[in-house]
Amino acid sequence: MTRSLLNVVPQAFAKLDPRHVFRSPVIFVVWVGSVLTTGLAIKDPSVFSWSIAVWLWATVLFANAAEAVAEGRGKAQAASLRAAKRETMARRLRADGIEESVPGSDLTIGDKVVVETGQVIPGDGEIVEGVATVDESAITGESAPVIRESGGDRSAVTGGTTVLSDRIVVQITTKPGESFIDRMIALVEGAQRQKTPNEIALTILLTTLTIVFLVTVMAIQPLASYSGRTQPVVVLIALLVCLIPTTIGALLSAIGIAGMDRLVQRNVLAMSGRAVEAAGDVSTLLLDKTGTITFGNRQATELLGGDPADGELAEAAYLSSLADSTPEGKSIIELAHTSYGVNGGRSAEALGREGAEFIEFSAMTRMSGVDLLDGTRIRKGATSAVRAWVEESGGSMPSRVEVLVDGISSSGGTPLVVAQQSGSSQARALGVVHLKDVVKPGMRERFDVMRAMGIRTVMITGDNALTAAAIAKEAGVDDFLAEATPEDKMRLIRKEQEGGRLVAMTGDGTNDAPALAQADVGVAMNSGTSAAKEAGNMVDLDSDPTKLIEIVEIGKQLLITRGALTTFSIANDIAKYFAIIPAMFIGLFPGLDALNIMRLSSSESAMLSAVIFNALIILALIPLALRGVRYRPSTAAQMLRRNLLVYGVGGVIAPFIGIKLIDLVVSLLPGLA
């Protein structure tokens, strides 16, 4: 922290430029006050007036430093992005199919370029031909290469990433200077940062307060003059600066930049600050089931109907799955080994060498299995297929198994029946493997937290209603949309919005694009299509749909930090009045010394202490502004109570202590009256 503060000293001075300071009305008033005080101190030098002048400049510098530190954190990331953006020569395909070499910055929308192994993709675009592995670590920081191919939902490529293998033809989709990387650089540097709606509203309130205090302070002079003694202008400026909400005025833009930065640190890029604020307001979260709530593939969770004593079912299920490399198959092997004591460590290859023959799953037979050397045949698969296989050999499905199958189906799971035929005897159904969508651990707790924050979660799935209901219940979401089409999704979003709710969702496919655009917070996966990325207002570089929950928390934290520091800033004024007002008028009305409850040593030390406190508190709160206030998910009522206590009551008390302590030091200063 200290080092980053030292690093920004030059920038803090550079930001003294009035054109920059003017962007924050509160700090601009301090700036004008500093200029005036300095002029007065030159004309009429005294320890007091010079001290005030120096500390007023310090106030402005601290405000600038806060902003510079916040911006500085994005600079490092911007630098690494810039490195990726280094000038590349592109191999542009002319209409006649002949390649020509042009600088990457000359490419425009619609140009087609060829990129081969080891080359850097010169601009954002869509693959129109070929398939390649691409290293996207320049953007995502993730070193594992990803596959990009023409057509489908994985055709988007980003300029600055490197092709690791094969050859692709890319059609450029953005203008030079507006590429994804360009926008990222601008975002993390805060260069094109525009004030968000909420920030503007707060600025209006702070400006109004500043005007009120300006009038209050200007009215003091005629009142004081009537009462018998005018006040030195330096004193009035000092009072004004102490009263106007400098703390929040100085930290406001740092809070905004830091909020965006927190998102960037989690590899999320918000296309606008507006979206980050909206994230805090979200009251409905639409979450895709697959990949977000569940692991995305069905897993075996139990083996039912077998005789536990002989382990026959587990052994059969194990053997029939050995050659099955699907996640379902692997999960059966894992389950049989760990939960049912089957002897693990065997492999399909070894068994194959011994003469076993594996039957692969096909859409026709809907079964897979194995024929062992000793004539034992094992099959597992869909109920109807296995039933047919069993009956073919003269056997029949026991009703016990049928009951289990129905039970699993109605709970939303998928039953796989395992049957075995030894030699030429009748085939027997041994039992059922229960496959189900497994909810990621911890989801229920996260949804409980969401509910406590007043956010409704809706699970979106292509499953039928029965399956969806079962998973929704298990995961603890509030509602679900089953057999959802993109149109259904859109309709749901509109319905929620008409009810006054803000909706957040994630998506990656082109068919998600309209819904992403309609949602108030649309988070596109970086692995998704460029249509999805254009439509959303945030991009998650890690392509992790659960991150939506973190995004909401960051949005809330941003707003809470602003509110907390505003409250703190205003609450501070009470103590400053008790320091300055008696100090100003004690010469006129000695009785006002009763208001000097801090027992500050002299009028001048009291005023100077208040000004110093006012400046130092900005410095002290920079870490808080950058980090954001601690956020614990809880109801609004609890949060309000806690934050009011800490920042409201704390804001009243802290300056009384701070000013008193500063006064103890300042009163030692020689030359103060």
């Binding site: 109004t208 009120v212 949005g555 609450a571 009785g591």
Partner: protein
């Protein structure tokens, strides 16, 4: 019975009366302003002024109607006052100068009722009844209408209409203020307030001095003076005059009258927005501040130095300290401005307390209508500052407080302090205005500050001591009254226009609750801090300096 006990019993009786009327009066007003049918008398009025009572207005049309009606009212009243000495029924009245007439016309139309003239001498019975009393009714009804328009904007969603000003105005007069004042006038009459049309009576006192005793339609004007939080007395001595306020019982009743509508409106609010707890919260906020004001004023006067029985200077024997301070705190916290004791003579702290009541912005509970919308504005500011702390864009009753809404609320808060401080500053810095002050030092500063605070807040009570019937004070105070009334009103209507268009966001546990004691405390804190920070230096040089010297 000790003074303290009787004082506490007086307050207890008053609170009991208010509590009894809170529900029925509030519910009645809610019914009045949501009723779809029109009374026959009202239909006649609508036909006369050619208004379609079933069509509603957007905020622009509503605001235009408010301004047009009020400008017309000022012009008509001004003309009547200027012409009064040439009209019948003069009864020896001296009439008013032009600036006094302007001041008076503005004063009564803005529901301020600052009186630069001596009540019985400056205005003829004709002006009092046809001009001033009429404005007593309609100016209060205008405030009521604007408040109701704001409530509708909060209650409705995705709409543009906020009601029909003419209907709200007529109903406010016909269904609320008229029946209320008739009832009140009868009770005041029974209590001994006079009501006659006899000629002035000349009597000779013990010392041989000739005295002219005027009568008049006092009880009827007294009723609406309090009920409409107007405050313009029939007599110069206002409610200290035995013909206006003869005994402790009429005193309690008059205090009740000036508090009843502003408090009951919070009930109306709760009913109309569909959540009674919201009304309770606003009422609780106003009650808390009112109780604080009463406590502080009473404590200051009872403990005023140099008097074993408390500070009786400027107070009526028949009301005592408690009956006077209760009246003073209530009249200054309702923007009424009627007085039953001379605030100038209060102890420095007591005088400062009634002044502080006004610079709070008349929200405890404020004037008829104007109090309620003032309270809502403070609540909106509290929601904006603290609402961010729950991690959402601030919202109140499901309506988002965004850039434009906050601008309206912030400008509303800006108007009054600017008017008071700028004009008080100029007056104290100029020789002319300073020469008409009766006191010097901090007390004189309080006199001037009080005058502008009273005008800009549309209170109308005078600290006395200041000779305000000069062109400077008449005109600057008129400006304060005019801007202090209509700029906030227009901002409130603009705000209503913004709010009514919004959708309503559903209430969840993530929504900041605005009906809890915590929220009431928060709004109280915001009101005190905003007013305190703005006026602390001025108060420090006035009443506080005086009290501590």
């Amino acid at each position: 019975m000790s003074e303290t006990l009787s004082g506490l019993l007086t307050i207890g009786l008053l609170v009991l009366l208010l509590a009894l009327c809170y529900h029925p009066v509030g519910a009645w007003m809610a019914k009045v302003f949501t009723d779809t049918r029109h009374w026959r008398a009202e239909k006649a009025i609508y036909r006369l002024v050619r208004v379609d009572p079933d069509s509603e207005q957007g905020w622009r049309a509503y605001a235009t109607s408010v301004v047009a009606f009020s400008v017309l009212g000022i012009a008509a009243l001004f003309a009547l006052i200027v012409a009064q000495t040439h009209l019948p029924g003069r009864q020896g009245s001296d009439g008013m100068g032009v600036t006094t007439a302007i001041n008076t016309a503005v004063s009564f139309v803005t529901n301020t009722n600052w009186q630069s003239y001596a009540g019985e001498a400056g205005a003829t019975p004709l002006v009092q009844t046809v001009g001033l009393t009429v404005q007593n009714f309609v100016s209060a009804a205008v405030g009521l209408a604007v408040a109701v328009a704001l409530i509708r904007a909060l209650a409705r969603h995705s709409a543009s209409a906020i009601g029909n000003f003419w209907v709200d105005l007529v109903r406010g007069v016909v269904r609320v203020l008229l029946p209320g004042s008739v009832l009140a006038a009868v009770l005041l009459l029974a209590g001994g307030v006079i009501q006659n049309l006899s000629a002035p009576l000349t009597i000779h006192g013990f010392s041989g001095v000739e005295q002219v005793i005027r009568g008049g339609l006092v009880a009827s004007q007294e009723a609406i003076k309090e009920l409409g939080t107007n405050g313009g007395g029939y007599f110069n001595a206002n409610s200290a005059h035995p013909f206006e306020n003869p005994n402790p019982l009429t005193n309690i009743f008059e205090i009740f009258l000036l508090l009843v509508i502003p408090f009951a409106l919070t009930r109306t609010y709760g009913i109309m927005v569909g959540d009674r707890r919201q009304g309770w919260a606003l009422g609780g906020f106003a009650g808390l501040l009112w109780a604080g004001g009463v406590a502080l004023t009473t404590w200051a006067e009872v403990h005023a130095s140099g008097a074993s029985t408390g500070a009786m200077e400027g107070k009526e024997q028949r009301f005592g300290v408690w009956g006077s301070t209760l009246f003073a705190a209530s009249t200054t916290s309702t923007s009424t401005g009627a007085v039953n004791s001379m605030h100038e003579s209060y102890s420095p702290l007591g005088g400062g307390a009634v002044l502080a009541n006004m610079v709070l912005g008349e929200v405890s509970p404020g004037g008829v209508g104007s109090g309620l919308y003032g309270i809502v504005i403070v609540a909106l500011l509290a929601v904006f500052v603290a609402g961010l702390m729950v991690g959402r864009t601030p919202e109140y009753l499901g309506k988002t407080i965004g850039r434009r809404e906050v601008t309206c609320a912030a400008l509303y808060i800006l108007v009054m302090p600017v008017l008071v401080l700028v004009f008080a500053g100029i007056s104290l810095a100029s020789d002319g205005p300073r020469s008409t002050m009766s006191a010097s030092g901090p007390h004189g500063l309080t006199e001037v500050l009080y005058a502008y605070a009273s005008a800009a807040n549309n209170n109308g009570s005078a600290f006395a001591g200041l000779t305000a019937d000069t062109p400077w004070y008449n005109l600057t105070l008129a400006i304060c009254m005019l801007l202090g009334r209509f700029i906030p009103m227009l901002l409130v209507l603009r705000l209503a226009g913004l709010l009514v268009e919004q959708r309503k966001r559903p209430v969840t546990v993530g929504t900041m609750p605005t009906h809890t004691p915590l929220f009431v405390g928060l709004v109280t804190g915001i009101a005190l801090v905003v007013a305190g920070l703005t006026f602390f230096p001025a108060l420090a040089l006035g009443p506080i300096a005086e009290a501590l010297s």
